[in-house]
Symmetry: C2
Subunit: 142 residues, 2 copies
């Protein structure tokens, strides 16, 4: 089999086992991966608008609206006032920050665990390659 073909084959084979485990960790706090991806982003960038999330996560706006609303309902996320009255700018609530810290720790442990035996150099290589492919896909789609 050609190596590029193998690449994508292997990529998808990893997805389902991986997301299953992650959701198992997240369920302890009534969360699913789609919600976590937003909390994760908020942990890094402090505050964001729904359009920013939509573009970054490659998910349509209505889906983002729904997921963000579920996080607001759980009181993990809160809306803040922005300059532009059209936009809805959100950030993690104090409770959201707590939960994020705990989950970040659990997920870190899990990730380190399943990465056992893979050298930091290999990890860096893989990260770089995935980043390049994402860029190619996005550039292509414009």
């Amino acid at each position: 089999m050609e190596s590029y073909r193998k690449f994508f084959h292997q990529y998808f084979l990893l997805y389902r086992p991986f997301i299953s485990d992650l959701n198992r960790l997240l369920n302890e706090y009534d969360l699913h991966y789609s919600q976590w991806s937003i909390m994760y982003y908020l942990e890094m960038y402090e505050s964001v608008t729904l359009v920013e999330l939509s573009k970054h996560l490659y998910v349509e706006k209505p889906t983002i609206t729904r997921t963000v609303n579920s996080l607001i309902k759980l009181q993990y996320v809160e809306q803040i006032k922005g300059r532009d009255n059209r936009e809805k700018r959100i950030q993690l609530s104090p409770r959201g920050k707590e939960i994020t810290a705990i989950l970040r720790k659990n997920i870190d442990e899990y990730e380190q665990d399943i990465m056992t035996g893979i050298s930091p150099e290999q990890q860096a290589e893989v990260i770089e390659v995935m980043d390049q492919i994402r860029s190619m896909i996005i550039k292509r789609g414009v």
Copy 2:
């Protein structure tokens, strides 16, 4: 950010852009990725049972049943007689083989396109790492 953390972050960032493009290619033949993953497997292994698919794809049996039935309805897949009357053994139909060949070509082109600039050595490295991680996840889950 720790490199193991970056790995999973980057992994998921690639998933949605990638699956969106794939589904766009597959839609020409009324297919979605969940169906394609089965056709792809059938192209490699000739004939399989639903339980084999379930284990390999890491998806529960009822989900496999539904997806396989949709492929039978599309006449891309047909049931064949096996030794064990409990099992449902399937293979690609002649039409299914045609479609698979065409799609394989289109997807190959697409994949080669977005892998431009990534050396075969890098590709091999990444494939190896993803395989190792999948093994770790599965072993862990036992």
